[in-house]
């Protein structure tokens, strides 16, 4: 299974990422999840979120999740980008792509990765209230 993982302060370039998708002849499905920073946190307007990662452990835990996904579903590739640092409201903080032969496994794996990530990958956020 092809894997790509980035934890980065750069803006997520969804267009460049999707343009670089590779799918071999047997692949029929690509599922994407894009997490967007909402303009409110606990009901109050915010300018954005600052994400902090324990990066070495975050990378390792992401790879463990990719291992598990690979064991459970026949996936051709998983690519994931998580931003750190300040992310303005309305911008993407997370981008995931799963390519698989059929849609069921692509959806299942993508949902698995984002759900488990929120349980085990050491990344935290801090809201910046609107002045």
């Amino acid at each position: 299974m092809r894997r790509e993982l980035a934890i980065s302060e750069q803006k997520i370039d969804e267009q460049a990422l999707s343009r670089s998708r590779a799918a071999s002849a047997g692949m029929g499905a690509a599922v994407y999840f894009v997490g967007i920073v909402r303009g409110t946190e606990e009901g109050r307007p915010i300018s954005g979120l600052a994400y902090e990662a324990f990066e070495k452990m975050a990378r390792y835990q992401f790879e463990l999740l990719f291992d598990q996904a690979q064991t459970r579903w026949p996936l051709e590739s998983v690519r994931l980008v998580h931003r750190v640092g300040f992310v303005a409201a309305g911008e993407a903080s997370l981008w995931i792509e799963v390519v698989a032969p059929h849609r069921e496994e692509a959806f299942a794996a993508c949902q698995f990765i984002v759900r488990e990530m929120k349980r085990v990958v050491p990344i935290w956020k801090k809201a910046f209230p609107l002045a």
Partner: protein
């Protein structure tokens, strides 16, 4: 022996430090170290029920046997995404 303890997210603020060094008995378990840390930082102790604990890059439970050079990390529930 010495182990380093790292704090992340608001645990840094509660501890007033991003990392500390603790002296522990050789062969001590992770839970003994945590007790020591919680005694030293009462504000962290208040968070112990939700705290997550890793050694290196793996989550570990209290019975984990610490070794010289272990890097312990203590942090609140994760919130990525």
């Amino acid at each position: 022996m010495q182990v380093r303890v790292h704090f992340y997210s608001y645990f840094k603020d509660l501890a007033g430090a991003s990392e500390i060094t603790e002296m522990i008995a050789p062969g001590a378990r992770l839970e003994s170290l945590l007790q020591q840390v919680y005694l030293r930082f009462p504000k962290l102790a208040a968070m112990r029920k939700s705290a997550l604990v890793a050694v290196g890059v793996d989550y570990q439970a209290g019975e984990y046997l610490l070794a010289e050079g272990d890097e312990v990390s203590l942090f609140p529930p994760v919130q990525g995404g």
